[in-house]
Subunit: 133 residues, 2 copies
DNA sequence: CTATTAAAGAGTTATAATATCTATAATATC
DNA sequence: GATATTATAGATATTATAACTCTTTAATAG
């Protein structure tokens, strides 16, 4: 019951882009160095973010990744969902009782967490210019 | 990023005890049958619950498990913590920056969820006498 | 003492996360 | 067009954790 390291890397790179270069492209190597993770692995994570519309990519010389136009609206929840998928924390159901009481509790609790994660935008954190990496 | 099946089994057995026999002892075999899980495996989970004070056990003939005197106060969060341990959903930290912004967000979101899980008691669900198993 | 039941230990299997290697495709620059 | 650069994709290996089993031990009631 833990968020994956991939999610952690995704959050860090997003915050990194927001803090350092919201408009400029940056390749995967420098970020992989900062995060102390292999470029190929980080690349896979960034590709997932691209597909989810969290960042934009361009190949070729001078290419790299940059934030999309709407980047100030991107929330923690968006990033987490991009990596973890549309998670439901609880799904060990066996019998499919109608209107399951256990699942109701778990889902409503999960929603409380998601509300909070939806309100928190990386742009908001970036304003504080933290030493993110 | 999912709760373990063990947590699921724990929630179901607790609710089962609360619904069927709040005072009477019941062995692991009947419950394992209902849950379609092996008795030895369920036994390990129940032992964790015993150590966390969620249930009481007694060996020997006529023994088994029963809820403790304070069972009506037991929350979902209590049960989850008993199985998952004192979880922190997020811990992929690399640099230990002071007053980490990312971790602050994740922790506060997690607390929102835990508040909800702390308010939900199994006794409350048991009153509705659901077809739990 | 014997039957019954929980607890504990060691081990196995299954599944998912993590990471690497290699090959391919796209773009810019010359 | 040739070359260097960079992202993407596929296959695969490694590691970690969850899930489960088997066996032994301990405790209790009758
Ligand atoms: S109680 Fe809920 S989770 Fe459990 S078997 Fe019934 S529907 Fe599924
Ligand atoms: S930003 Fe937070 S989680 Fe990331 S390295 Fe710094 S302290 Fe750790």
């Amino acid at each position: 019951m833990k968020y994956s390291k991939a999610t952690n890397y995704a959050l860090h790179t997003m915050l990194y882009l927001a803090v350092t270069s919201p408009n400029q492209r940056v390749g995967v190597q420098p970020m992989a160095e900062k995060l102390k993770v292999s470029p190929t692995y980080l690349s896979k994570i960034l590709t997932q973010l691209v597909k989810a519309g969290m960042i934009e990519s361009s190949p070729g010389a001078g290419g790299g990744y940059k934030l999309p136009p709407h980047w100030e609206e991107i929330s923690f929840l968006d990033i987490i969902h991009a990596i973890e998928g549309p998670v439901s924390l609880f799904d060990g159901c066996l019998n499919d009782h109608p209107d399951c009481l256990i699942q109701n509790v778990m889902v409503s609790a999960e929603e409380k967490m998601e509300e909070e994660l939806k309100q928190k935008k990386i742009a908001e954190l970036a304003k504080k210019a933290p030493p993110v990496l």
